[in-house]
């Protein structure tokens, strides 16, 4: 009477299906024909499924160790400060959120466009600080006097020596691309012993002559101009003023050629495609670490707090450095706790599903595939092959058993 309802539910919803699934895995998709181990062979020959298996092993190799390490670092940092609760809550909070919701959050974070995806926006800020993007994203020479392309720089064909004035006209620049501080372009005076010149937007609304600096044509400030020798090496470099003019002083010998440097044309940052085929798995792993770091931190911090202070003090009194104390005393004492975290993570990672299906857009789910996801997609997500799906489930089951066996053995030893 006490046991009846529970045993009925366990029997119908767990025991019976488990046996059914094992049997089902030896039948074809319709369930009519016995096919032996064919489904298992498919599991290890089909590309999509192989990717899933390989990815899942990567998950097992990387994520539990990473989460444990981060948890340890956080726990140790926390030990040293007093008002740690706020930090603990911040890091632990993702644990309460479902892995699915966490997936939605990170899908948003990983958006490719830097004006939308937070991660790429941050990358863009760092990138701009390290190497500012060029002033112009696209431009073409206005006459045939200039040759080359944005990649190698645009080179003025005419040879220059001291006293020369170079005119480098560009077109094909969108108005929005013209730097805000640009002024009317001016052809500079020749300079004895130097080379002067102008870089300008050789475009006059309503017409005008190509190759000539005219009224209403703007100089292009901030453009990098190189002076190149015969061999094409850059011997001097300068940037243009607001009216587009530039000056190279003390020029000796020659002949030289003036060129607009390639750094002028660097494309604006378009965003790293985190959700693309090649980065999707590491990206999802990172979001998973974001979720689980708090769990590892809290468990390890509890373990740290349980270490008797006298032991650490004794080691310090004996002259051990902090690092030695940490490696020789703290870590060994902490080993059981670290193992618990690690094994817990192994089991969760083996069955990872929600976060993958949430972060990975449909088009890259083949690349992001893991075993649990492959099982679901094969059985219910369009393929609808129950035979193969059952085989994947059994495979997952077989992988879970040894890890849990370790867990149970350890558990028994502790009790």
């Amino acid at each position: 009477m006490f046991l009846g309802p529970a045993l009925l539910l366990l029997g119908v919803w767990i025991v019976y299906p488990t046996i059914r699934t094992i049997i089902r895995s030896f039948f074809d998709r319709s369930g009519d024909e016995f096919v032996g181990v064919d489904n298992y062979q498919t599991l290890f020959s089909d590309d999509t499924l192989l990717t899933a298996v390989r990815n899942n092993f990567l998950w097992l190799l990387i994520v539990p160790a990473f989460v444990t390490a981060i948890g340890l670092v956080f726990a140790v940092l926390l030990e040293r400060v007093r008002f740690a609760t706020a930090f603990k809550v911040a890091v632990f909070m993702p644990m309460a959120i479902s892995l699915f919701a966490a997936g939605v959050i990170w899908r948003l974070m990983y958006e490719k466009d830097p004006s939308q995806g937070t991660v790429n926006a941050a990358v863009a800020v760092v990138k701009d600080a390290v190497s500012p993007s060029g002033v112009l994203s696209a431009a073409q020479p206005s006459t045939e006097a200039l040759e080359g392309g944005p990649r190698g720089g645009l080179v003025l064909e005419r040879e220059l020596a001291a006293g020369a004035v170079a005119q480098l006209g560009l077109t094909g620049i969108r108005s929005s691309d013209v730097p805000a501080d640009a002024e009317q372009a001016v052809v500079p005076e020749a300079l004895a012993g130097g080379i002067t010149g102008v870089v300008w937007r050789d475009f006059k609304p309503g017409g005008g002559t190509a190759g000539e600096v005219e009224e209403e044509e703007l100089g292009l400030p901030g453009v990098t101009v190189e002076l190149r020798d015969d061999a094409g090496r850059s011997v001097a470099e300068t940037t243009t003023e607001a009216d587009g003019t530039f000056v190279f002083e003390d020029v000796e010998g020659g002949p030289y050629r003036a060129a607009i440097g390639p750094s002028t044309f660097s494309e604006p940052f378009a965003g790293v495609s985190w959700l693309g085929a090649s980065l999707i798995t590491p990206a999802i792993m990172l979001s998973y670490v974001w979720v689980w770091a708090g769990f590892a931190m809290v468990v390890i911090a509890a373990g740290l707090a349980a270490i008797p202070r006298d032991l650490l003090e004794a080691a310090r009194t004996d002259g051990a450095t902090e690092l030695q104390v940490f490696r020789r005393v703290t870590i060994p004492l902490l080993a059981p706790v670290l193992t618990v975290v690690f094994i817990t993570m192994l089991i969760y990672v083996l069955k990872v599903f929600d976060i993958v299906i949430a972060v990975a857009p449909g088009s890259v789910q083949d690349d992001a595939n893991v075993i649990a996801l492959a099982m679901w997609r094969t059985s219910f997500g369009g393929v609808n092959d129950f035979g193969l799906g059952a085989a994947i489930a059994v495979f997952l089951f077989l992988l879970v058993i040894p890890i849990l066996a370790i867990n149970v053995r350890r558990f028994r030893r502790e009790v």
Binding site: A6, P17, L77, V81, F87, A96, F100, A372, F397
Partner: protein, 295 residues
């Protein structure tokens, strides 16, 4: 507080102010790192929240941080929209019913079974208990296909009851395991006294065991509730029209940017409830997670 900590406190009290300042300064890098990391961990969730506030004319194109420079972009309209959206509100109600049912039912049944395993004598008791605990290793995936067929035959597919029964069955092994271990710690004398007084086993269960087991039951309930509320896999397999909120959001993901004005607020509502539960009952949570790994 340990003795060591108390001693440390005394030492600090005697420390001159200057030394104190020096000590705090030397810790400054640690604080800076912690503040940075803490913010790093908060940003994604905050990002989702502010995205959910973005005006529908810019959501899906603007970054959430733009709301700080242009507060006019912020609006509660998206939340108004999803509250008017029948699909979302009914999904929230479905999730609520499934979560409540899947919390009460397994815990009640598990408590009954745990009592039997702990205090009733019957042949094969320990073997049976071992088998029940062994069921912990069975991954949910092992049950999906046969139960899917079974539900189709029984008409349980796409019903709240079907979801509850599935969650109940998979919640049982752990609940039985935990409660049995808790009940067995109840002093034998109490039970003997009640039995001598002529109380029936049912009476003992309701009047004695359940009240005494409350701490364990509470922590189990919180964990089970969050587990079911956050579930996607089971819901995705056994629900179509009667869908919980996770499935409702999932079906919008196909066009992520275009549907962001629904996805962001719905996702935030769906995670706000677990957050409230979590902050209210934090301490029960970690234990549950450690144990939940066997699910």
């Amino acid at each position: 507080m340990t003795t060591a900590e108390i001693e440390a406190g005394r030492v600090e009290a005697r420390e001159p102010t200057a030394a104190k300042i020096v000590r705090y300064l030397s810790k400054a890098p640690v604080y800076i790192v912690l503040v940075f990391l803490g913010l790093l961990w908060l940003v994604p969730t905050i990002g989702l929240f502010f995205t959910s506030l973005l005006d529908s004319s810019v959501v899906g194109r603007a970054g959430w941080w733009e709301i700080f420079s242009k507060p006019s972009l912020g609006t509660l309209e998206n939340y108004g929209e999803i509250l008017d959206n029948e699909a979302i509100t009914s999904a929230l109600m479905t999730t609520l019913w499934v979560s409540i049912g899947s919390t009460i039912l397994p815990i009640f049944l598990a408590a009954l079974a745990a009592y039997a395993f702990a205090w009733l004598e019957f042949p094969g008791r320990d073997w049976l208990f071992l088998i029940v605990v062994a069921l912990l290793v069975v991954p949910i995936q092992m049950a999906l296909i046969p139960i899917f067929s079974l539900y189709n035959d029984l008409g349980l597919f796409d019903t709240i009851i079907g979801l509850i029964l599935f969650h109940t069955a998979f919640g049982l092994p752990f609940a039985i395991f935990l409660l049995r271990n808790f009940f067995i710690g109840i002093p034998r004398d109490l039970l003997e006294a009640a039995r001598i007084d002529g109380a029936s086993e049912m009476r003992i269960f309701f009047r004695l065991i359940l009240p005494l087991g409350l701490p364990a039951i509470a922590s189990l309930a919180i964990f089970q509730f969050l587990w079911v509320w956050n579930d996607l896999l089971v819901a995705l397999t056994f629900a179509r029209d009667t869908q919980p909120i996770t499935v409702a959001i999932f079906s919008q993901l196909r066009q992520f940017s275009a549907n962001l004005e629904i996805i962001a607020p719905a996702a935030f509502v769906s995670l706000a409830i677990p957050l409230v539960v979590f902050f209210a009952f934090q301490r029960y949570f970690v234990e549950g997670l450690l144990a939940g790994s066997v699910k």
